[in-house]
Subunit: 347 residues, 2 copies
């Protein structure tokens, strides 16, 4: 349990000053070849590594990116994290992840904690409760203090900062259009209440797609659920009731979970997929891929979002002091991944 090696210890050991050691290790020309070699050899032998914390303090830079997300047991978020991590690593940044559990207070706490010197900037996806509460002081405060912030996925328009989004409206439109192209005309949607931005936008895309085909929107073809991340008990029941005896030939859902839950009940009702009912789901994940039938999805490319978010943040962190403030909103393209839950398009 020996103490970590520091410049001071090396200096004492080799009987030179701390400055000399520091300079030698950084290959300063001020130090003679001899001394430099001696010091470097010693440092290497005993595996000296500069202390990160001390460096952070000195440079007032941590080279650390803070991520604040609602939850981690969630395929989409993990892919985003993977993207962020990649990009960060490529630029020699570290990553700290904190979870808000969709809780407003915890989100605020996490931000304060990370803002106290631990990170140089944030990548945030807002907690459901925060969106609901419409209280963003913690964000504006961080920004005011000069902390660059990048929001992704669950964002709020008013905050002046970089944003990374997918075009939820376009994505949903593409998904629903695919159902239309394969011949579906009675298409239902399972989505979220409107205060969840992504749910609202995806619903909008659904509506626009139908309208572009001149199809009237039926209110009872739309099911809005409370939560976008879980679906248990009550939620299951709502989906079951919604589908029971409904005369539809297509279903669009804003996430995988709603899709597989719906599929389960459709199965029970003796419907065949894709022949009786075709399904397209937003969010491409493990469930869609391995479900039987495998689900056609609108992939949101979380990894790319993560990479983009990290890129924007790093740009901000490394821009020259005097550069003018400018905020970007980047859109990541969605892709339709065709699988077994939809019919082939006829030529």
């Amino acid at each position: 349990m020996k103490r970590k090696l520091t410049l001071k210890l090396i200096a004492k050991e080799l009987d030179v000053s701390i400055s000399t050691v520091s300079k030698a290790l950084r290959d300063s020309a001020e130090i003679s070849e001899d001394t430099r070699q001696k010091i470097k050899a010693f440092a290497k032998l005993y595996n000296y590594k500069p202390n990160n914390i001390a460096l952070s303090l000195k440079n007032r830079k941590t080279r650390t990116i803070g991520i604040i997300i609602p939850q981690i047991v969630h395929h989409f978020f993990t892919t985003v994290i993977r993207g962020i991590e990649q990009m960060a690593r490529e630029h020699n940044y570290n990553v700290i992840i904190t979870l808000s559990n969709n809780d407003f207070d915890k989100e605020v706490l996490n931000m304060e904690l990370l803002a106290n010197g631990s990170t140089d900037g944030f990548i945030v996806s807002l907690a459901k409760e925060t969106l609901h509460k419409d209280d963003f002081r913690h964000l504006t405060e961080a920004i005011d203090q000069g902390m660059p912030v990048v929001m992704f996925d669950r964002i709020v328009d008013e905050i002046p900062c970089d944003k990374v989004l997918i075009d939820d409206r376009e994505g949903a439109k593409m998904g629903v259009r695919h159902l239309l192209k394969t011949g579906c005309r009675k298409i239902a949607i399972i989505t979220t209440e409107d205060y969840v931005t992504i749910g609202r936008l995806r619903t909008k895309g659904y509506i626009e797609a139908l309208e572009s085909y001149g199809i009237k929107i039926e209110k009872d073809h739309i099911l809005k659920l409370d939560n976008i991340d879980h679906c248990e008990g009550e939620c299951n029941k709502k989906i079951k009731n919604f589908l029971k005896g409904k005369d539809i030939d297509g279903l669009f859902t804003v996430n995988e979970l709603f899709a597989v839950t719906a599929a389960k009940y459709l199965n029970e009702f003796g419907k065949n997929m894709p022949n009786d009912v075709s399904i397209v789901s937003f969010s491409d994940g493990e469930l869609s891929k391995h479900f039987i039938p495998s689900l056609t999805t609108v992939s949101q490319h979380g990894e790319l979002m993560g990479r983009k978010a990290a890129e924007l943040l790093i740009n901000k962190l490394e821009r020259p002091e005097d550069e003018v403030e400018e905020y970007t909103t980047a859109y990541i393209d969605t892709t339709l991944i065709e699988r077994e839950s939809t019919k082939k398009i006829k030529n």
Copy 2:
């Protein structure tokens, strides 16, 4: 873009010394009631928060736990992280997560990086490549330097440190026994090569369960695959060939992915689950829950593992200097979660 408030700034503003400010804020009796109130009011007004980095440097403690895992897009690992995060938060610790991508070099790099003052200790699940290479110098080095290390799930016995495991052998035994109890007698297993500890142990459990029922082990009932985390292309083919025309009535797999992949082919071969073939899979996740039929699984309670790992680490971090070194290996119980892919036990 105003500068962050520091003790120094407050001191200048209120025309007192830095020490006075520090003491006032920490409610030292040395400072008069008057001054104390004045300083605290000012600090509160301008939302002063002590700088974490400076504190870390001063205390030579970061109150940060480093997590090093092979990958994050993985349900089990995310549940473990959630557990660690919970426990950490409860004890006022932060969490830094780094990914090795199952790459030995990256694992070493991450450890070195985090060891340079960023964290007080590690929670590690080893990269596949590390296990394969059998090179653990980075671990022993960290431990030698006084960094507490806790390993979980993908561990190696020789390293002296705390460990959190599930009893893979027992868990597999329980799963296979369940198949036996529901009447299966011709049970196959899809597992990994033996150098993956968890695969080896689960295979062992499978064998022991069969032996306890006096059933002979058939070599061609055992399929060993290379990778435990992915299953694509080549791997799919192997599973398909393995199952094709095989006369079995039960199947045990060491993870969900193998299970659903197998289920897909069994479906294709016209087998009904659970009537023709029953399936039990290790690792309880989203796939098992939502698959049709939903899968009976051996749940490994990742969250509990995470909590336990964090608890062990925090204990080490906060034990008195002179306490004797002692290493614990904690076992987290597995649970059988009965679903639709197995038959009911007859009374």
